[in-house]
């Protein structure tokens, strides 16, 4: 069977394949939502014929009651009104018959009714997407409870995408000439302080290298020739204020101006590059966009007891709609620094943000949970960091001191406050996850807080119970307050801001069990597609595809995972197809980053292939950068080898950076701490192991120089050296045998005047010091003998002829010792020893 270009939708229902795919995306069945809103305020009392069957009854309870009011579908699709009259109030059996033409009970989100409203037709909210989700929920509930439901699995019909060739694109020129005259000058001028191999602290990539070829190779991943304003060089300046510069002499740092200059340079580069067809040497698949894939997700959650749910699909505006289908909807008003994630999510930024419902609508949480006595809060959330504390992610609260329940982040721990009769009004003490488990990660996490009176509060992260036990379980919810408001990303009082992204939030009126939690974790979040890359022409196998599970991962990337070879022809046999080096391409070019499948080297064989599941090629996934958006980015695959087709990849030889001379530095340096200790020991002959010496060394060790850089010499180091030298000299002088050996002829039992009254007397101390390795004999690199003697004569004479008012100035042998030690330490602790 051939796929033509007239958007031939091959709804090949492959039951077995469908089963397998259901398992891929979660497996467990969708469970009926037992409770549906009864919007009694506008729905008339039904007086027509009773439902003719259980399925009609399911239709009536789950869908019809929610849409037949005039404010929704009943205004037009009523009896005698616009056909189909699925909202007629006179006869629910006739309404049922009409509704069957506009619903798809197998894939509720693909129901014509849903698609119509999602496209903007008579949505009763400001967001057609929210109306579509609510309708989907109602139809899903009908399907789950009626004969039309698949009762356990979602049958996914793989649909062959519209055939599309890989488009033309701009390729990087082979040589760096154009780069060197456009972008490179800015890079060398403003980025070389870090992004150059000759930088003081080099920071790869070296796109500002003095070697332009090296810089060019490193710069390519940061430049987008096809869409220059997506270039990382530009984005980094424009939105991240990274290393901006002043654009006017003496002016302030100007990120906007810096970004504009960079963008102009990149545009100058891009404009000079001609658009060319995709590299003809590549072996490529056919192409498709993300949204042209087969929708795969969102069907397998356990939502039976949901009472409020936010999907954050809006992507615009200041309202996040409650799409649970349970009235009244707690639509959240968004304030503060928030950003929508087009991959479905709401980002709470720095400076505080909040999404809060009214107390009136929030009271449905109170009324539902007060009756059930248990609840669950379910989030898919990505904390922005793991340092924020007292950061409230979501809760039903009245302020910082009163709440029904709240989930909070405290660095790498989560905290669950929950008011019961066993806690205070603030829900304290909280259940806190163990610090050692570091449960909170700056990554997308599935977080579920459950409460029931038996277990108290429990937390589950990514489908696993954290193991933390509620310190005060056993209370009831009798003391809950129905005047509080539902809030996400903060406290109602705005003083507990949380930073991060919430991609899904729901409140259940029961305590989900582990199986239900794992079911919802497995169902994932966001819209998942199966991208079918047509490789029929490359493999010779009819309708053969590389199927990749794909989704928009966040505002900046896509997730592509689990490539699988599969044919839509259930009778196809692949034979033996080697596949190696599979690269992801986008908009005509292979991507520079995220090529997780480039290492693939396998073969599709009849033995490993099954018509139902194909053959998995890789079990991992990868994130690749978003460029133009999910409706425009055109993906393709290229192969080094597939079947008999090969592409020889040219691997560029990296260019060695040109060496750069460093500033001249001192030719001499300092001995460091243990060298000083060892040197003093070697010079004096005093053992460093002597207790008093070792104690002094250990005291001053970290005060001594630790690096030889003479420019870093500090007064504190000088003091430490002095202390150590005094200790060594004190030990030397006070140890008679060592003293006699070092200072031959010196009589320390004389008074200072007797011992050092003459130059000859002082020389008995000075000469051994000069001749010792502390100075060395006849070394031109040391001060001269005379210079040293002059200094020491001056010192010793001053100490001998001390001022009588100085209480230490006593003419006894004790002072003789002191003067000898001082002279010794002066030399030992001087630069003659210290400099090497």
């Amino acid at each position: 069977m051939t796929v033509n270009t007239n958007r031939l939708r091959l709804h090949l229902l492959l039951p077995a394949v469908a089963l397998l795919l259901a398992a891929c995306s979660g497996g467990a069945p969708t469970t009926q939502n037992a409770e549906v809103a009864n919007n009694a305020s506008s729905a008339a009392i039904y007086t027509g014929p009773a439902p003719a069957s259980a399925d009609v009854e399911a239709f009536k309870v789950n869908l019809w009651q929610n849409i037949n009011m005039s404010s929704r579908c009943g205004g037009c699709h009523k009896a005698g009104g616009q056909s189909p009259m699925f909202a007629r109030s006179d006869d629910v059996n006739l309404a049922y018959s009409a509704a069957l033409s506009v619903v798809n009970l197998t894939q509720p989100d693909q129901s014509p009714m849903v698609l119509k409203v999602g496209g903007g037709h008579n949505c009763w909210l400001s967001s057609p997407s929210a109306c579509a989700d609510i309708l989907t929920t109602w139809i899903q509930n009908w399907a789950g409870g009626g004969s039309g439901g698949s009762a356990g699995s979602t049958q996914i019909q793989l649909t062959a995408p519209v055939d599309q060739a890989v488009g033309p694109t701009k390729q990087y020129p082979a040589d760096s000439t154009l780069f060197s005259t456009t972008v490179y000058p800015l890079l060398t001028m403003f980025c070389s302080r870090c992004h150059s191999p000759s930088a003081t602290v080099p920071q790869s990539p070296y796109f500002a290298s003095s070697n332009v070829d090296q810089a060019y190779a490193a710069a390519q991943p940061k430049i987008n020739l096809n869409t220059p304003n997506l270039s990382r060089f530009y984005v980094r300046l424009a939105t991240e204020s990274h290393n901006c510069w002043a654009t006017t002499p003496g002016g302030p740092v100007d990120c906007a101006g810096s970004a504009a200059r960079m963008l102009a340079a990149i545009q100058g580069f891009a404009n000079a590059v001609q658009t060319t067809p995709v590299d003809p040497s590549l072996v490529v698949s056919r192409a498709l966009t993300l949204t042209a894939g087969t929708i795969a997700s969102g069907e397998n959650r356990y939502d039976a007891d949901i009472i409020a749910r936010w999907l954050f699909k809006e992507n615009t505006g200041t309202t996040a709609f409650d799409t649970s289908g349970v009235d009244p909807a707690i639509n959240l008003t968004i304030s503060g620094n928030t950003t929508w994630d087009s991959a479905w999510g709401l980002i709470f930024g720095t400076g505080g943000a909040k999404a809060q419902g009214s107390t009136a609508t929030s009271s449905k949480i109170y009324s539902s949970i007060a009756a059930s006595g248990q609840y669950s809060l379910e989030l898919w959330a990505a904390p922005a960091n793991v340092t924020q504390t007292m950061a409230f992610m979501g809760g039903y609260s009245g302020g910082t001191s009163a709440r029904n329940f709240t989930l909070a982040q405290d660095a790498m721990q989560y905290q669950a406050y929950g008011r019961t009769t066993s806690t205070d009004a603030n829900g304290a003490p909280p259940l806190t996850t163990a610090a050692a488990n570091m449960n909170a990660q700056a990554a997308l996490q599935h977080i579920v807080l459950t409460y029931d009176s038996t277990h108290g509060r429990q937390l589950y992260i990514n489908g696993n119970f954290t193991g933390d036990v509620d310190p005060v379980k056993g209370g009831t919810l009798a003391n809950w307050d129905n005047t509080f408001a539902w809030v996400l990303g903060n406290e109602t009082s705005n003083d507990r801001p949380w930073q991060g992204e919430i991609r899904f939030a729901a409140v259940h009126k029961n305590a989900l069990n582990i199986a239900q939690i794992q079911q919802n974790y497995a169902a994932g979040v966001g819209q998942v597609f199966y991208l079918l890359f047509d490789v029929s022409a490359l493999t010779g196998v009819a309708q053969s595809y590389i199927m990749v599970t794909a989704s928009q991962y966040d505002n900046y990337s896509y997730l592509l995972a689990k490539p699988t070879f599969i044919s839509l022809n259930p009778k196809a046999q692949p034979g033996n197809i080697p596949i190696a080096g599979m690269y992801i391409g986008m908009n005509g070019q292979e991507l520079q980053v995220g090529q997780a499948f480039s290492t693939l080297n396998t073969s599709v064989t009849d033995d490993n292939y099954s018509a139902t599941g194909g053959q998995l090629l890789s079990s991992v996934g990868t994130v690749v950068p978003l460029q133009l958006g999910p409706n425009s980015d055109l993906f393709f695959l290229s192969f080094d080898r597939i079947g008999t087709h090969t592409h020889t990849r040219t691997v560029a030889t990296p260019v060695a950076p040109a060496p750069t001379d460093l500033a001249p530095s001192s030719d001499i340096g300092l001995h460091v701490y243990d060298e000083i200790n060892a040197s003093m020991a070697a010079i004096t002959g005093v053992s460093p192991g002597i207790t008093s010496v070792n104690a002094t060394y250990l005291t001053v060790q970290q005060q001594l120089p630790t690096v030889p850089d003479i420019q870093g010499f500090l007064p504190s180091q000088e003091i430490g050296i002095s202390q150590l030298s005094i200790q060594y000299c004190s030990t030397l002088v006070d140890t008679p045998a060592q003293s006699a050996a070092f200072f031959p002829g010196l009589n320390l039992n004389q008074t200072p005047a007797q011992a050092f009254g003459t130059d000859a007397g002082m020389d008995l101390v000075i000469t051994p010091l000069i001749n010792s390795p502390a100075v060395g004999i006849g070394l031109a690199s040391q001060p001269t003998d005379a210079q040293i003697r002059t200094e020491l004569y001056s010192l010793m004479t001053a100490l001998v002829n001390c001022n009588a008012s100085d209480p230490t100035c006593v003419q006894t042998p004790t002072r003789t010792h002191t003067i000898a030690k001082a002279a010794c330490a002066t030399v030992l602790g001087s630069a003659t020893m210290l400099i090497k």
Binding site: V201, S204, P205, R232, G345, I347, A382, P383, A384, A443, L444, Q445, N462, N464, Y553, D554, Y556, S557, L559, Q592, V593, G594, F597, S598, S618, V620, T622, P625, P654, L662, P664, S665, D667, I668, D674, E675, S679, A682, T706, E718, S722, I726, C729, S730, P773, A774, G776, S781, P783, L795, T808, T814, T818, A825, T826, G829, T832, L834, I835, K836
Partner: protein
């Protein structure tokens, strides 16, 4: 007031004056240095202490005879070369804080011993080797404490004389095939295998033996298929962080850290743990951060830097670039050009007190590196050649 205190006052006053005067008088680059001055500098820098008169004379004579490397070898006979210079040279590599103020340990002792015995230094990350002290009264070596080396430290043991070569496998219980030089010493395990994800061992090995921290070798173009599940692909909801930063290191680091999949440090038993065939639990933490990430099945590793910009690190063409376990990864790293360059750079910095800074320096370093590789990776030869080059004119 004690004698010592009084002396301190006097000497500090005088010492400050003399020190300042002498520093001021000291020429920044000694001119016309003769053999004596060259010998003193060489000895000071190699041994960390000034030479005795006799050694000075011998060294000066050798220098006069155009044999400065012979003079350097003489200086390296001084115990200070081992107890001071080499210890300082190695100690920062043995701990995360990169502090030199750490007790002697099996890592430091092993490197000192290898250099003393001229053991080819390109086995420092792969050999089944260990040095212990032959000092009376010292407690026996134990893999679960540092008492043996602490004793040597406390008693000022002469490391040149007292170190004895043995094997890790004979003393630690780790099979010889699983030993990997200093990587599998207890000190390294305690510093870099403790808790975490074992990535620290790789990062610090890169810093200490290839002279490149991860920011210097980031390459976002490497395939990310072996980045583990614990690495968020969208930290805080912003995948740009991953695509422009995280991936640059993890894409190549994670496939190499896989070599350590069977290693851990047990903080209770206080020793290295090796579990052949069983990947450590730390390789499977935070799997929910990116469920589609790589799940580590074994200790097979691959060097993804053999292509791309980091091919410039100069990987050995005689090695396959992949393998199992720490030993073969250690061989991969230590037989790279970057390893040889790094050892010479470190010695050059230690002896010349600067990195190779100009064409002459770079030429000398290149020659020393070439000699290092062709001469059996002899570290003392590197010290000697470097000291000769920087002995002054």
């Amino acid at each position: 007031m004690t004698t010592v205190t009084r002396t301190k006052r006097a000497a500090q006053r005088a010492g400050s004056v003399l020190l300042a005067a002498l520093l001021g008088a000291q020429p920044l680059s000694p001119l016309m240095a003769g053999p004596n001055e060259q010998a003193v500098r060489m000895h000071n820098r190699l041994a960390g202490v000034p030479p005795s008169d006799a050694v000075l004379t011998q060294m000066a004579t050798l220098i006069s005879q155009s044999n400065p490397q012979g003079a350097a070898q003489l200086a390296m006979n001084n115990s200070g070369f081992y107890n001071v210079t080499l210890r300082n040279f190695i100690a920062p590599a043995t701990n995360r804080a990169q502090s030199p103020f750490v007790p002697l340990n099996d890592y430091t002792a092993t490197v000192i011993g290898m250099i003393r015995d001229n053991v080819p230094f390109n086995t420092v990350l792969s050999a089944d080797i260990l040095y212990i002290g032959n000092v009376g009264g010292a407690p026996a070596y134990s893999p679960s404490n540092n008492n043996h080396y602490q004793y040597l430290d406390d008693h000022g043991a002469d490391l040149k004389a007292s170190l004895v070569q043995t094997t890790q496998s004979s003393l630690t219980g780790v099979p010889s095939a699983a030993t990997a030089g200093v990587i599998t010493t207890e000190a390294a395990a305690q510093a870099f295998f403790i808790a975490g994800t074992n990535r620290a061992m790789f990062r610090f090995t890169m810093i200490n033996y290839l002279c490149n921290d991860l920011p210097q070798v980031m390459d976002i173009t490497r395939p990310p298929d072996r980045i583990r599940q614990d690495v968020s692909r969208s930290p805080g909801g912003d995948s740009r962080v991953f695509l422009n930063n995280c991936i640059g290191c993890h894409a190549a680091m994670d496939p190499m850290v896989q070599a350590f999949a069977y290693y851990n440090y047990d903080p209770t038993a206080l020793q290295l743990v090796y579990t052949p065939g069983q990947t450590q639990a730390k390789y499977h933490i935070n799997t929910g951060n990116f469920p589609d990430g790589f799940v580590t099945p074994d200790d097979s590793w691959q060097n993804r830097w053999r292509s791309g910009a980091n091919a410039l690190l100069g990987w050995s063409s005689t090695l396959p670039g992949s393998g199992n376990g720490a030993k073969s990864l250690g061989q991969e790293l230590a037989n790279s050009q970057a390893f040889a360059n790094c050892q010479v750079q470190k010695v050059f910095q230690a002896i010349c007190l600067r990195p190779p800074s100009n064409a002459a320096d770079r030429g000398a370093a290149a020659q020393i590196t070439a000699d290092f590789k062709s001469g059996g990776y002899n570290m003392k030869q590197v010290f000697a050649e470097t000291a000769a080059y920087c002995m002054g004119n």
